[in-house]
Amino acid sequence: MRPEQGTMQSRAQAMAVLLELLTDQPVIICNGFPSREAYKLADRPTHFYMIGSMGVAPAIGLGVALAKPMKKVVVLDGDGNVLMGMGTLATVGAMKPKNFVHVVFDNEVYGSTGNQPTLSRSVRLDQVAKAAGYVNVERVREREDIAYEFKDMLGKDGPSLLLIKVTENAEDVGRVELDPPVITDRFRKAITGH
């Protein structure tokens, strides 16, 4: 049951497409390889890299989005993460923050711990988000589709969820070299100006 056609990207390839389209938007990136890849691809003070607390990236993003309704907040998440904190799809769907863009890289495995399968192979997370009340939901895999849909979501009212089917491939990346309090301080400064 794979309705998508075309070439599947690695998560890092897909992430690079997204980061190119971003400027000063707050971006929350989930723990594990996604944060490490984002840090390597483009480190910005507006990036909040998670190193633990799996499953709560969209909750952090929701907190930012509610406090700063004029800023478009982007969450870069994974399928294992969404499954762990699936209740937050309901919170977002109910609160309906217009400035919330939730990207889910779906590789159907727990990639940071040895590629054990997740349930996203049989559970359509995009449909769960739709049912929970996300306003715009798209499921893509092609590079051009990723860029088109993400640009579209950045420009219109959400909450939006972009599910990107990606390969299991992870980049050879080191850990995020910033101390967690430093990540907090510079993100806060970038968002609030102080």
Binding site: G52, L66, A90, T91, P181, T184, I191
Partner: protein, 165 residues
């Protein structure tokens, strides 16, 4: 007994301005007041609530998370692997179910061990009372500024007017 309106006003007066959490009967009056004032964002789980508080803090807010003490169990990993290590402060307003063993069975273990649990993970805590209310609120404001980690104000039944006083 303190009116929930007074309690919320005191929190607002010292600067708290973002409220989320998961309900408990002891907290019911406070949550009703917060909802009337349109200050409350309901969460579905306590780890979601502390993460929302972390985001709100980084966006300039001064957050409070309301929860039953059972929620400390649910949210402990987020508290210690997000809020604590990233230095994202919030006031945890925690209802003390199972206090002195007088509660339903599911509350007894957490009721007995909660303060030890908080001590074990170095979360500052203090038990709120009407007689010490002024100092309790001052402690909350100072701990937020000085410690920059989550800290808990524990609320027993019958101190602030709840849904079932």
């Amino acid at each position: 007994m303190i009116e929930s309106d007074q309690f919320v006003q005191a929190l607002e007066d010292i600067g708290f301005n973002f409220f989320t959490g998961v309900p408990d009967s002891i907290l019911g009056g406070i949550i009703t007041t917060l909802m009337e004032r349109q200050l409350y964002t309901p969460a579905v789980r306590e780890d979601e609530a502390v993460a929302m508080a972390a985001g709100a803090y980084m966006a300039g807010k001064v957050p409070v998370v309301l929860m039953q003490n059972s929620g400390l169990g649910t949210s402990l990993n987020a508290i210690i692997s997000l809020n604590v290590i990233y230095r994202q402060p919030c006031l945890l307003l925690v209802s003390w179910r199972g206090f002195e063993g007088k509660d339903a069975p599911e509350h007894l273990v957490m009721g007995r061990t909660m303060t030890h649990l908080l001590d074990a993970v170095s979360i500052p805590h203090r038990t709120f009372s009407e007689a010490t209310a002024v100092e309790d609120f001052r402690w909350a404001a100072q701990t937020f500024m000085n410690e920059r980690i989550p800290f808990a104000l524990l609320l027993k039944k019958g101190i602030v007017k709840g849904i079932q006083p």
